[in-house]
Symmetry: D2
Subunit: 433 residues, 4 copies
């Protein structure tokens, strides 16, 4: 085969057209021979819609990439150079349960944070480890780029339990580069950001524009750190940011502004308008658009979906690896002492240098107690979540959820867990339910 | 002077008769020449009552200890061998505010944990550091035994900011030895307990009776870890303890059972019966009893007060130091790498060997994620609390309280803080309020 | 069986009478039922002599301990409570080679340090691991007290590769307590010594007599740290000790005074009077004495042999375990973060608290660069020595010896190694020689 | 001023023409306005020769850079953007003593390693700290690029005792990139090298050509790692490299091949042909060439001098900083946890990402015991060397030298030290000699 093979697991996702757009745009450098789109039986219809759109996009671009849509995961993995995982075990239906059950018990319901993210991790990790098992056999040299949420927890499970070259990827960091480049009217390359944290819980400890520190600009005139489509925008208390000594990310609002967010979610719940409800509706609309046989490019509507610059992050990373550029990306990798206060074998999200053969984090060292306390607590929750998911251990699951800062007590954790276990039973074969 | 000088700062406390009983009981070994009782002007009446009782107790014991009651702190400190701090800045009146304001804002109100303990720390630390300043000048070789709550935070402030030989002491650990010795009908020396944690947040990671591990007995038949007088007794979920892999202490209930405790506190608040209210009443009764000129021993009623075996812990520690016994006590000292996941310069509560010249912790090493997550979070809160108290920094105070696991959001922290700052203003000269 | 079973592997050693004396002396507390003396076929004659003397000693003491001498290691291990290993693989003949080959190549030849100790470790570790394999099966609850040199390296091999409750023991620390007690004319209990290091490379970082630091006495008037019978006594440069900030042990002379010691050894080599030669002669004399059927106690001559207070160290340790005394001993155990600058899984020699069920080191923390540089270098050598011995890896053996501070170059290491491998071939089945 | 100001302290060095060549070659990108060459009075003649050549080089290149030669260090530092230190306190005359005294006492004499490097550090550090004092006042935003040997030790002194943005730089790493690019006939960008270590003691733990690991090529067919002009070339034992699991650098020969190197040095000493002698001769010849008024470019003869690609390393680094390129260089910076087994506050030499405002090391983590033992020992020596140089403490100086792996005993260290102190007296004002 002349050129590389990229395999997208969860290829029937509404995000796929964005990814394809990025691949097509960079085809001259990347020389992609094949893109395999894999999905499960329940997603066959969506996969088929995406396949059609993908082929029309390729055709329009007058590009020689071969598109293969299949349910045969092993065939798709075999000999791949890059494998992208963007799966949703149990589809949006289970996400809806994740959110509803959480909010009903008076805690924040969210796809990646808190009880909702926890249950998603329990469903997802066994499936990802199974994929990794195939990769070890059929594509041992492949790079696995994991986008599946909760991306940090899922990547940690792979790092701890598989022998696969994995990188966890999120669109959160690239959005900061975009945002600050726009704010200061400079190129992205003129922006330097010192990140510390884990996926969906990263702090910016310094910000440089053309080599000058500008974090104080944020402390004195900030409106909001980054307005993701999926996070409520209440703004930040500037005094709070200043004594924090860092810029929190959007997901920090679930911790620092939990009262207001919970209040809003309770109201949404009453109106049947939680984020899962919104996304479900959006998805239906998107797939209707995708089906249009005249559509041969990524539709504008996709930009409302939430994963802004997702494609750019993924394709840039593939380019850096493939071309051995040795440049910087903000990625989820093994800590290995980079953040001194977290265990070596856990997954962190920091600046890394990407080479063809390795991804190496830039040293962070010590972090302030302001950042450390929350970071360590959530990391311990994540470690237990991985352990519970892999072992199918209900006791450890209870410990994990109890530790989470958004869960007020062991008793509340237990009540939520019991209800979640009932509706998720068929997605949790590892547990004795 | 023939014999040692012991100075009790906060000598007018209702606990003092218990301490005196212990000193009298061990006088043959300790050979105490003088006990100085110091207090502030606002406590002069109580001090005078305690002085009277103390002298009657000495007389009854036919013992040669000289009792001196004074408001002159420096005179009392001068040349002392042991200085015991058991002060309550702002008296019970401020404790009542600590609890009421917390509960009113929907969070647990407690003397040492959460927002209440936080405000007590801000009031207390400057006073203790001032005492230490005197000790550095007037009694540089003295041992400072700090009982003042929150004992871990206060001791950490001294460790970080003074050059004083300080040990933080709590009656919590000794109660476990008492309890297990009683349960298994053995002597306290036959009980070995592996503790890990910080003051009022220690876990028992193993328990040995005559060299045999018995922690599984607890996991299979436990009713309650330790029923302190001041902590609600709801019992523990045995499954939870087993997956925790450790026995929590009584104060853990504020975290693991926070829903139920908060509910109870809200009800108490309505009835004007919070812990502060109860203690205030108890104190009045005690001092009425103490005034009785016929009373010449520690009254039974004191045992209801809460600090069981407080005297035994203190006097045993003084004995070990004085006699260079090299035996084990569970104490609050500098971490120095003992608990691997906590910063070196912070205060921990672990088993230590006590010698005449030094107190050395027994190595703990790594702890499980179950324990680690909560422990690290609360420790980061404590570090920030010390920093805020010493610097008088409102921003850091806000960060500290926001980090505390019992405070749900930065906004709630701010609201509580603002109200507390108003009523505490005259006790917080270090802050620009 | 009423009472405990102690098994001595290498029971035919000339040291055994000293150990027996200790057991007999403490019989009232220890209540020993049986002492099993095991040896290999080559040592049968010596074993039989020791057996005779042992029985006469028991008889004289009118004591009910049963003495069993056997070549059946497994029978001896079965159900033992304490197993003491004091073996010498290849006997004194191989020790002689260790020393001769080293000195011939211009490096110090010594039983436990440098090339000699290295070769002894390679011979000994497989035999000890084999014993541990038997212990795991036949006496899983036994405590293994390892005296076999190089005691630190051998103990580390057990800690890393077996599941046995092992403690490494050396008479070096107890000799310091004895010496300082005598110097200051106080009881051993009035002496406190802060040790840091590894077996045969421990520094005293502070010394207290009745709670007063007296290390400066040493810096200003010291003649020698401790004159073991087996180490040349050249005295110390007091200026050097002061800037070292610590008291080195006798074995440090091989590093700090290597020029003079090497010179002396070269002269001894010419006269056929190396330490191995001396010991061989001493041993012959001792066994002649032991054979005397009228001898029924430990002979005075044994005190010249080198292992002063060896018995006291061993018997005191057994007493502390058996009686759960919770007192302090200086022992070789797993580091586990105690000495911050050494890996967690390596063996260190520090003060420990001994309980019936566990031995816990007292926290040391950071050490000065003066101590750290040599300590870390020798520890890395030890780690590689264990690895080479276990894997039978000649390359790693070469790396280990090259790293040793007493070996000047990789080339010298290779030359020594090749010659040693030839004469040791039959004792190194794990290597492909 | 339009353009940057570069100040070269030790501007009269024979290396300066190479540096100027690099600046001229990159002038379009760097836009240098002024190059200030500073030297001490003893070097005035050389400085004047270099000044003449520099001006002729500028003229020939038709370039607008202003050359200023001065003895006024403060004027030269004032407002500089980049300050390069390449000084030699005591000139080559003292280097000759460093080498002669070492070899005479039977230890390797070398400019940066062992006793010679140690004495050079004691002479150099106070002078560099004095320069830094000026930088703090007169050019607080300048980057200090330190080439002065021993570069790692000198840089560590600055990191610990000054508030200056310092980077230590050596031509050793860039030579590996050059060498491997040539060997594999690829561009330098296709070469990736994983370095671990400290200046003049770095190991290559992996080597990648276009993303493929090729370190095994070295283990199977290697002749020599890198033949610097100043290090004897005896080749390496391939078996040794393989079990080392890493490629040592040229300076490792002083440790691994010390017997042969010492032998060679003893022979050179007899012939009056040590490295210092050779360099002294070379320098004289170079300055004769430099004086030629027709010479207007860097002469070929300079390439024999030893610092190959020195200019390229320096100018590339300035370009990366100035242009904020975010690319990788191998530099001497603060450890900060990058190499887990070394103290945080010490100086290491590793791959770094260079930005306009900061230089960040790539995480290394744990290293093998083979590497660790020697690395930690030499680092502890370096820490003590910095301490001795800054405090002027003879005792610490003795400890430092005793710790060095090339010094066999404390006694040898003392003898060397005493002789060196006599001849260096006027360069060591910080010591009480």
């Amino acid at each position: 085969m002349n050129g590389i093979k990229i395999t997208v697991i969860g290829g029937g996702s509404s995000y796929t057209p964005e990814l394809l757009e990025g691949i097509i745009f960079n085809q001259e450098l990347l020389r992609v021979a094949e893109v395999w789109l894999v999905d499960v039986e329940a997603g066959q219809q969506k996969l088929s819609i995406i396949e059609g759109l993908a082929k029309r996009m390729i055709q329009k671009a007058e590009c020689s990439i071969r598109i293969v849509a299949t349910l045969d995961k092993r065939e798709a993995i075999k000999g791949a150079d890059y494998i992208i995982t963007q799966i949703r075990v149990g589809q949006l239906k289970m996400r809806r349960y994740d959110e509803y059950i959480s909010i009903k018990h008076g805690v924040i319901g969210q796809e990646t944070t808190g009880a909702g993210g926890f249950m998603k991790a329990l469903r997802t990790i066994p499936v990802i480890l199974d994929i990794c098992n195939d990769i070890e056999q059929l594509a041992p040299n492949a790079w696995l780029l994991n986008f599946t949420n909760p991306a940090g927890v899922v990547t940690e499970a792979v790092l701890k339990h598989c022998n696969v070259k994995v990188i966890g990827l999120c669109n959160n960091p690239i959005n900061y580069y975009k945002k600050f480049a726009a704010t200061y009217n400079v190129s992205m390359n003129d922006v330097s950001i010192n990140f510390v944290g884990i996926n969906h819980l990263i702090w910016i400890t310094d910000l440089f524009i053309k080599g000058e520190s500008r974090i104080n600009d944020v402390f004195t005139g900030w409106s909001d750190s980054y307005e993701a489509k999926n996070i409520p925008a209440f703004g930040w208390d500037l005094e709070f940011l200043k004594s924090l000594g860092a810029i929190p990310c959007g997901y920090h609002k679930y911790y620092y502004q939990s009262d207001r967010i919970l209040q809003e979610q309770l109201e949404q719940l009453e109106r049947n308008e939680t984020r899962a409800d919104q996304v479900q509706k959006m998805e239906q609309e998107l797939f209707e658009i995708y089906q249009n046989p005249d559509l041969n490019e990524k539709p504008k509507a996709l930009e409302q979906r939430g994963g802004a610059y997702y494609s750019e992050a993924a394709v840039n990373l593939i380019k850096s690896i493939q071309l051995n550029t040795k440049d910087m990306h903000t990625l989820n990798i093994r800590n290995n002492g980079t953040i001194a206060c977290l265990p070596n074998d856990t997954c962190i999200e920091v600046n890394c240098v990407v080479e063809r053969h390795q991804v190496t984090p830039l040293q962070v060292g010590e972090v302030s107690p302001q950042v450390r306390g929350l970071l360590q607590n959530v990391k311990a929750y994540e470690e237990l979540t991985v352990e519970a998911a892999v072992k199918g251990d209900k006791g450890i699951a209870h410990q994990a959820l109890t530790l989470h800062p958004l869960i007020p007590s062991a008793e509340r954790a237990k009540a939520i867990l019991e209800e979640m276990f009932i509706v998720n039973k068929r997605f949790l074969p590892q547990f004795d339910l």
